[in-house]
C-alpha cells in the first residue's frame, strides 16, 4: 500500500528552437518524488537538470521552449496542461523554487521587505476574503519568516535593499520568500553554488532544519555529490538530458550500476585512496543539436555496444533502484 507520489514526471521531453537549430534539451525524463522525501538531481552543467526543474513550474518562455512529450503530475494533477493562471495558483503555495545566484534573483530597486511582503500578499489572493491577511499582518509574517531562516535583526532587515546584504543573507531571504506560502514541495536549483564554502555549509544546514521542521519535500539540484550525500534520501543521475540512474543515496554510492555514475564516483578524490593523477571520463558531451539516437553516453562509455543505438529503458536493478543501461555489470564496480 504505497501512497501516490507527491510529484511524478513521466517521459518528459523538451526542445528549444535556437539560432543554430533545434536543441534537444531533455529526452524522456522520468522520476518520482514521495511525500516528505529529499531527492537530489545530479549531473554536470548542461545535463538538463535545471531545465527539468523549471518545467515543473512553467518558468521557461514558451517559444523557444517546446515540450514534445510527457507529463508532470503533482498530487495527481498534470501541471503541463495548466495554463498560466492555473500555474500561478501552484507557484509559491504548493510548489516553490529557490535559485542559484541570490544577487540577480532579487529586484535591486525594491527593499527586501517589500518583495517579501508582495509575495505573501500574492499568496493571500488564493484565500477566501475573510481569512486574508492585511498588509500589517503580512509584515509580521515576513518578520517571522526571516526569523525562521535565522536572519539577524529581521525587523530592521525588512527595509534594507539587496545590495546592502551579503550573499548568504540574500539566499536566506530568498528561502524565506519561497517558504512563506507554506508549500509542500521546495525545488532548490543549485542554491549554494554561488556562495562561499563556509556559507554553503550554513545554507545546507538551514535547508535540512527546515525540511525536518516543516515536513517539506525537496528536490535539490546540484553537481556536487557531497551535497547529495549530506542532504538527500534518493538521487537521480542525469547525463545529456537523459536519466541514467536513480536510487537511494546509500545504494548509489555503494553499488552504482550505470557506467556514467561509476565514472562520476571514481572521479571524486578520496583521502583514503591516494593517487598520483585525477581520474576523469574520457571524451566530451554530445552536441544536443544532433544527439546520437539511443543512449547519449555511448561515445564515452567503456561498456558500449551496438545495442546502445536503441534507447535502454530505466530498468529495475534493486529496491527502488533503476538504471538505463543494456550492459551494466550489476554494480560490482563499486
Amino acid at each position: 500500500m504505497t501512497d501516490q507520489p507527491l510529484l511524478s514526471i513521466r517521459d518528459l521531453s523538451l526542445e528549444f528552437d535556437t539560432f543554430d537549430g533545434v536543441y534537444k534539451a531533455i529526452d524522456s525524463v522520468s522520476f518520482d518524488l514521495a511525500k516528505g522525501e529529499s531527492l537530489g538531481i545530479v549531473g554536470e552543467t548542461g545535463c538538463g537538470k535545471s531545465v527539468t526543474a523549471k518545467s515543473i513550474l512553467g518558468l521557461l518562455p514558451s517559444p523557444p521552449a517546446r515540450w514534445t512529450s510527457g507529463e508532470i503530475r503533482f498530487q495527481g494533477q498534470d501541471l503541463l496542461s495548466l495554463g498560466e493562471s492555473g500555474l500561478k495558483r501552484v507557484r509559491g503555495t504548493d510548489i516553490s523554487m529557490i535559485f542559484q545566484d541570490p544577487m540577480t534573483y532579487l529586484n535591486p530597486v525594491f527593499s527586501v521587505g517589500a518583495q517579501l511582503i508582495d509575495v505573501i500578499m500574492a499568496h493571500q489572493r488564493l484565500q477566501p476574503r475573510s481569512t486574508r491577511m492585511s498588509r500589517r499582518e503580512a509584515r509580521a509574517h515576513a518578520v517571522d519568516m526571516l526569523g525562521q531562516v535565522h536572519l539577524p535583526s529581521p525587523e530592521q532587515q525588512l527595509d534594507n535593499y539587496p545590495y546592502q546584504l551579503s550573499g548568504g543573507m540574500r539566499q536566506r531571504v530568498l528561502i524565506a520568500m519561497a517558504l512563506s506560502g507554506a508549500p509542500r514541495l521546495l525545488i532548490a536549483d543549485e542554491p549554494t553554488t554561488a556562495l562561499d564554502v563556509t556559507i554553503q555549509a550554513q545554507i545546507l544546514a538551514l535547508i535540512k532544519e527546515l525540511v525536518a521542521d516543516l515536513g517539506l519535500s525537496v528536490i535539490l539540484i546540484t553537481h556536487d555529490l557531497g551535497v547529495v550525500a549530506d542532504l538527500c534520501d534518493r538521487v537521480v543521475v542525469m547525463y545529456a538530458g537523459q536519466v541514467v540512474e536513480d536510487a537511494r543515496v546509500a545504494d548509489l554510492f555503494n553499488a552504482p550500476h550505470h557506467p556514467y555514475t561509476q565514472g562520476l564516483l571514481a572521479a571524486v578524490p578520496h583521502p583514503g585512496r591516494p593517487a598520483s593523477a585525477l581520474t576523469g571520463i574520457a571524451g566530451s558531451l554530445p552536441n544536443l543539436l544532433a544527439p546520437p539516437s539511443g543512449c547519449r553516453f555511448q561515445a564515452r562509455c567503456p561498456l558500449a555496444s551496438d545495442a546502445c543505438g536503441r534507447r535502454p529503458p530505466l530498468a529495475e536493478v534493486g529496491d527502488r533502484h533503476h538504471t538505463a543501461c543494456w550492459n551494466h555489470d550489476g554494480g560490482r564496480h563499486a
Binding site: A282, S284, A299, P302
Partner: protein, 305 residues
C-alpha cells in the same frame, strides 16, 4: 580505464568548415541580424539613394536653371502634374528640381557638421578619459555646461551673434554637437584604459599617443559609428530648423528648411510647396536613423533581440 581518443581532437582530420566554425557562425550571425532587420536594410537603401541623388543631382533634374532661382512668373504656384512632379513655387521654379538639389546641400551640411563634431569631440574625449585627474574634470565640466543648454537654443544664440548664413549655421551646429562625442568617448576610454592589453602595451614601453591611437581608438570606433549615423539625421533636422527660422541657408539656396519657411506663406492653397521638402527631410532622417539602429544591432550585442 579505457583510452578512447576522440576523433574531434585530431586537427588534421577536421574539414576547413569545422576548424573555422566559430568565425563562420559569427559572420552568419551578423549578416542574418542585419538582413533580417528589414528596417536596417530599408534605412541603408534610403541613405544610398540619398547619397546617389546628392552626387548626380545636378545632372538628372528636369529644370536645372531653377537651381538658383530663375524666374518664370507665368507658371508660378502650379499644382503637381506630369511635368512638374512636385508643382512649382512662387517664382515658377520646379519644386522637384529644388528638392533634389537641396539633397546635395543637405549631405554637405550633415557631413561637415558631424565631421567637425567628431574631430573635436573624439580627441577631447580620449584625452579626458586617458589622462584623468584635473584635465578630465575640466574637460567634462565644460562638456556638461554645453550639454545643459538645449541644442537648438544654443545654435540660435550663436547664429544670432554671428549673423544668419549657412556657414555660421554649420559652425553653430558643430559647436552644439561635439560635447556628445566627448562624453561617449571619455566613458569608453575610461573603461578601456584598464584592459589588460593596454597594460601590456604600457609595460613594453608604448607611449600614450601610440596606446590611444592603436589600442583605444579602434575599440571606440563602433559606438562612434553608431552615434555618427544617428547624428547625421539630427544634424539635418537642426540645419533645416535653422533654415526654417531664416537663420541658416538663405534664399535662393534650395535648402529644404528655408524652402518651407517661404512656402509657409502660401498655405493652404498651394500646399505642395511645403509638403514635399518636408517629406524629403523626413525620409532622409528616417534613413539615417534606421541605418544607425541596424549598425547598433550588429555592433552592440547587448541590443540584439
Amino acid at each position: 580505464m579505457t583510452d578512447t581518443v576522440s576523433k574531434t581532437t585530431d586537427l588534421e582530420a577536421l574539414s576547413w568548415r569545422e576548424r573555422h566554425h566559430s568565425a563562420i557562425r559569427q559572420v552568419r550571425l551578423y549578416s542574418r541580424t542585419f538582413a533580417r532587420n528589414g528596417s536596417a536594410m530599408f534605412g541603408l537603401a534610403l541613405v544610398l539613394i540619398f547619397v546617389v541623388v546628392a552626387i548626380i543631382g545636378p545632372w538628372i533634374v528636369p529644370f536645372p536653371e531653377d537651381a538658383v532661382g530663375a524666374v518664370n512668373m507665368d507658371i508660378k504656384l502650379q499644382p503637381p502634374d506630369a511635368v512638374h512632379w512636385f508643382g512649382t513655387d512662387e517664382v515658377g521654379n520646379d519644386v522637384f528640381t529644388r528638392v533634389v538639389l537641396g539633397t546635395r546641400l543637405t549631405v554637405q551640411i550633415a557631413c561637415i557638421v558631424t565631421g567637425i563634431a567628431i574631430l573635436i569631440g573624439v580627441p577631447l574625449g580620449m584625452v579626458a578619459g586617458y589622462m584623468g585627474g584635473v584635465v578630465q574634470e575640466v574637460i567634462m565640466r565644460i562638456t556638461d555646461v554645453f550639454l545643459s543648454v538645449p541644442g537648438l537654443i544654443l545654435a540660435i544664440a550663436i547664429v544670432g551673434a554671428l549673423g544668419p548664413g549657412i556657414v555660421n549655421a554649420m559652425l553653430a551646429l558643430s559647436l552644439v554637437w561635439w560635447p556628445g562625442y566627448v562624453r561617449l568617448v571619455q566613458a569608453k576610454t575610461l573603461a578601456l584604459k584598464n584592459e589588460i592589453y593596454v597594460e601590456a602595451a604600457r609595460s613594453i614601453g608604448a607611449g600614450p599617443m601610440r596606446i590611444v591611437f592603436v589600442h583605444i581608438l579602434p575599440n571606440c570606433a563602433s559606438p562612434i559609428v553608431v552615434k555618427g549615423s544617428m547624428d547625421m539625421g539630427m544634424a539635418i533636422l537642426g540645419a533645416a530648423s535653422l533654415g526654417f527660422l531664416g537663420l541658416g541657408a538663405q534664399p535662393p539656396e534650395p535648402e529644404w528648411g528655408a524652402m518651407i519657411s517661404i512656402a509657409r506663406n502660401y498655405l493652404p492653397d498651394w500646399w505642395w510647396y511645403s509638403f514635399f521638402p518636408g517629406i524629403a527631410i523626413f525620409i532622409t532622417v528616417l534613413g539615417f536613423n534606421l541605418l544607425g539602429d541596424g549598425l547598433r544591432d550588429i555592433l552592440d550585442p547587448k541590443h540584439r533581440e
